[in-house]
Symmetry: C2
Subunit: 207 residues, 2 copies
Amino acid sequence: MAATESQNKAKLTRKEQIESIATALFKQRGFAATSMRDLASAVGIEAASIYAHVRSKEEILQSICFKMANEFFAELAEIESQSITYTQKLRQVITAHIKIITHNIAASTVFQQEWRHLSEPFLTDFLSLREKYEHRIRELIQQGIETGEFISSDTRFVTRTLLSSLNGITQWYKLDGELSPEAIAGNLADLFLNGLNTHKDDRPKYH
Amino acid sequence: MAATESQNKAKLTRKEQIESIATALFKQRGFAATSMRDLASAVGIEAASIYAHVRSKEEILQSICFKMANEFFAELAEIESQSITYTQKLRQVITAHIKIITHNIAASTVFQQEWRHLSEPFLTDFLSLREKYEHRIRELIQQGIETGEFISSDTRFVTRTLLSSLNGITQWYKLDGELSPEAIAGNLADLFLNGLNTHKDDRPKYH
DNA sequence: CCTACCGATCGGTAGG
DNA sequence: CCTACCGATCGGTAGG
């Protein structure tokens, strides 16, 4: 009970503050190039004091990576459970993914670029989660093809391309930019669903 | 003349061999997490001996990043000079970019992910080149819109999305995989030009 | 290309 | 949360 109380009060525990600042630094310089002394100095304490709140440098990375993974899965499960067309599901997946990314730009960047510094068994777990997420989106596209909503395509390729486009948003999204997360989602869904061409006679016979 | 001769002979100079192995290591572990001792050991010499061929660790990174940039620009200039439709130009840009990436997977990955470890003035130069490349592709899409080939869209957004999709290929392309570079290029061009949807009545009114 | 070595910095611990 | 400190490792140089 006392433990629960201490978790509930206050805005940000010191541990959360450390993780938040670490996330920004890992994004800026990369995990390997960020030292615990850099982190401590940014927090305003001594390097050794960090270890009162955190077991190791890698533990911080683990926390960032798996928290982000959980966010993506929570939204995906919600969408999968709905009774709507696959076109609508795809639009919602795009919207949800972009919402998560734009609300956690630094953590998303670390999630995307720094996971390789995880040690085992975290590395294997992480890659397995990523594979599962991709697989479930691929399933969604496959089912859209079977209902006739989407054209027949290489679903593995389409899914990877979609995820690259989604994850690439971390590299250019600006809070003060001209495009809101919702506008980005709308544009991206339009592009993937309808393409750039004004007519559809361009397609060679790959399929 | 003697200098020219020594450049022309042999398969790979020691310097080229060092850069090639460094590229693979930088891709695998990242620039910051790769030590000169790792590199030396992979080459089969002592760490200090590396410095007989290379001025610093960063010089290797500079070489990788700017060589890749030059490759992209050479292909782009070639395509821009042709008299073909913008649809065809876009297809060729996609094909050329993918060709370069798939032929230099490790160097492309380093180019994309490790450039932030460049020091000034290289960092600024590099970002300026990247911006120039994006700008020229954006111009190409803008012109395609003006001729009526492409639908009116946010060209900045479309260009960034295309580049994310192209660069994401380094993350999943396998030499022994099911898709050849040409097939990937065809699929990607089809997706961006025509989209996934079997009909075009899905588009909401964002534009 | 090697041996020998430099000062700096790393992640982390002991003990309070 | 601090002082004091550990052994390991870092990028790089001197001198041959």
